[in-house]
């Protein structure tokens, strides 16, 4: 991808009307895309009176952090954040381990039925979670995991996307590297985690981001399996309680503050790892 030096826009000599239109379109797209989040932040600093004003107030006159404090008291935000962190981190670690191992086997071993098994696993990528939700709910209940964090985590410790991503990247790791480690007497498990994993570090970064963000944000399964046990609610579930806490325009600041708090971790993760994210889509998403 070509990088354009900063200041190119202002070199008016060879900039035609098409360039001006292009700049306008880019700015417009960026503004439309950023607007809801900017509005969210601005509204979180408004007083309840400002939130109810017609026509709407854009910039709060005296920004207040009150809404953030109120969120913390209404939904036990600390506990919710902790639950989200436990769910997202544990699930991500599990996915990394299972995906690395299975991706390695699918990429580097030859065994009977390999391609069929791989196809069957990949097919589950196209299965929306609602299709399996009802029996899964019962199944996890039978295991005694309903209403617990384990119930949220355990069914998600492996997924097709991770296995697919890892297989794509590990296929590109030279066999010589693996054979050399075998000659040195390394076990296969050691090879996966000490030789192959470092060689596919960008893919691991990408999968970490995908998995963490997905499981931080996911709503349907925790809502179903936790059965209203609010002590174990992750932040996304607790947010929904803000809406019913005080219906109407009164709670706008509160809801916006809560949303802003929930958005922060995945967005931070994205800013830190976005380079790998895009690269992994480029090299795995389409070629596959």
């Amino acid at each position: 991808m070509t990088r354009v030096g900063k200041g190119f826009v202002f070199r008016a000599s060879n900039a035609g009307p098409l360039d001006a239109l292009l700049v306008f379109a880019i700015v417009a797209a960026a503004v439309v895309s950023a607007f809801p989040l900017v509005w969210m932040i601005l509204s979180s600093f408004k007083t309840p009176a400002e939130s109810m004003q017609v026509p709407p107030v854009w910039i709060p006159a005296t920004p207040t952090f009150d809404a953030y404090g109120e969120v913390a008291s209404v939904i036990n935000a600390g506990r919710s954040f902790w639950n989200s962190a436990v769910i997202a981190t544990t699930t991500t670690l599990g996915i990394l381990v299972t995906s690395l191992m299975a991706g390695y086997a699918f990429a580097k071993y030859r065994f009977k039925g390999r391609d069929l098994l791989f196809a069957a696993v990949i097919a589950t990528m196209f299965l929306p979670p609602i299709v399996t939700l009802i029996p899964l709910y019962r199944l996890v209940g039978t295991m005694g995991l309903n209403a617990s964090l384990a119930g949220v985590i355990v069914p998600n410790l492996a997924n097709a996307f991770g296995i697919f991503l890892m297989r794509q990247f590990i296929a590109g790791v030279p066999d010589d590297l693996i054979d050399a480690a075998r000659v040195d007497g390394a076990s296969e498990l050691r090879i996966v985690f000490a030789v192959v994993a470092p060689a596919v570090a960008p893919a691991i970064a990408a999968l970490t981001l995908f998995a963490f963000v997905y499981h931080w944000n996911t709503y349907l399964w925790p809502l179903t399996v936790l059965q209203g046990n609010t002590d174990n609610y992750p932040i996304v579930l607790s947010l929904s309680r803000l809406l019913s806490y005080n219906r109407g325009a009164m709670n706008t600041g509160l809801v916006m503050a809560g949303a802003a708090m929930a958005v922060l971790p995945p967005l931070t993760m994205f800013v830190l790892l976005q380079r790998f994210f895009v690269d992994s889509i480029v090299s795995s998403g389409v070629k596959g």
């Binding site: 990088r3 960026a30 709407p56 065994f111 299709v131 939700l133 009802i134 709503y219 929930a262 895009v278």
Partner: protein, 297 residues
């Protein structure tokens, strides 16, 4: 294949394959089996009683559950179609805007677009429900500046579903834009050079070079967009509860409502099977459509 590779393959595959087997394949088979049973979700699987095609018959009957199911199926189809039809062209347009190198700003735009994809859907739903607010929301105010009248957005059966489509497009388009960018980077620059030498203008080279070579990307995008669209849940569960007048009742919401909240597991499973079949048909049709286009070339 040596014995030791077989053992190693087993060790490597067991964690992932058993998890996917127990928590995805087994429930999928159970869904199909349960769709032929009368079964309360509150009881064990052993309590299920075979009823043949009764659940399916109920879904096609004039009973209220049948009417609501058909409405939810229709809403889901409309929602999915609208999402795909808006997202695909928009992602190509935005992808071209990011990928071009005439003016700066593409990379910043990509970051902003993609960052919305990181936002939890629940936060998207909450924020947009306030943006849409007919009185104190900013969207009606902005439209007012351009002389557009007051819209009811999520509060009117005529506009509620479209309003949910808009917030969904806003959240997801960045992901599809990155897919398009990925596709664009794989088009050899030489092809554009050749088109230019042949006297093609930018519009002609877009339709002659870019679009045909993006076919696989767009097929992949379309499949993912369909699968994402049928999963819409949070805005409906939280903001509209399927209303007003059933206009935003979509399948993910309705299946959960019947199968989990009302504990009618057999009936909910029959709906899930119908959804699964519909998805298979749509995805196969998309692949067939893309392949047919390839032959015509």
């Amino acid at each position: 294949m040596t014995r030791s590779t077989r053992t190693s393959a087993l060790v490597m595959l067991t964690p992932a394959v058993s998890l996917v087997g127990v928590f995805i394949f087994l429930p999928m088979l159970l869904t199909i089996w349960l769709s032929f049973q009368a079964w309360s979700t509150q009881t064990g699987f052993g309590a299920a009683q075979f009823v043949g095609l009764q659940n399916y018959a109920d879904l096609l009957s004039p009973l209220s559950v049948g009417r609501d199911f058909r409405q939810a199926s229709w809403n889901t189809a409309v929602y999915t179609l609208l999402s795909v039809v808006v997202i695909l062209p928009l992602s190509v347009l935005l992808g071209l805007m990011v990928h071009q190198n005439r003016v700066a700003g593409g990379h910043v735009l990509r970051t902003i677009l993609f960052s919305t994809y990181m936002v939890p859907m629940i936060a998207v739903a909450l924020v947009w429900s306030k943006l849409y607010s007919p009185n104190e929301g900013p969207l009606n105010q902005i439209l007012g500046w351009f002389g557009v009248g007051r819209q009811m957005w999520l509060s009117s059966p005529d506009t509620a579903l479209v309003s949910v489509v808009i917030l969904n497009v806003w959240q997801q388009v960045g992901y599809f834009t990155v897919l398009v960018i990925a596709g664009l980077t794989q088009i050899p620059v030489a092809l554009y050079e050749a088109a230019r030498i042949d006297g093609a203008n930018p519009v002609q080279s877009f339709f002659g070079v870019t679009l045909p070579l993006l076919r696989r990307t767009l097929l992949f995008s379309a499949v993912i967009a369909v699968i994402n669209a049928v999963q819409v849940f949070e805005p409906v569960a939280l903001i509209t509860q399927g209303g007003p007048a059933n206009s935003t009742n979509v399948l993910t919401y309705y299946i959960r409502r019947v199968g989990i909240e009302r504990a009618q597991g057999g009936l909910g499973s029959a709906m899930a099977v119908m959804l699964m079949l519909a998805l298979i048909v749509v995805i196969v049709a998309l692949f067939a459509f893309a392949r047919q286009g390839e032959h015509e070339k």
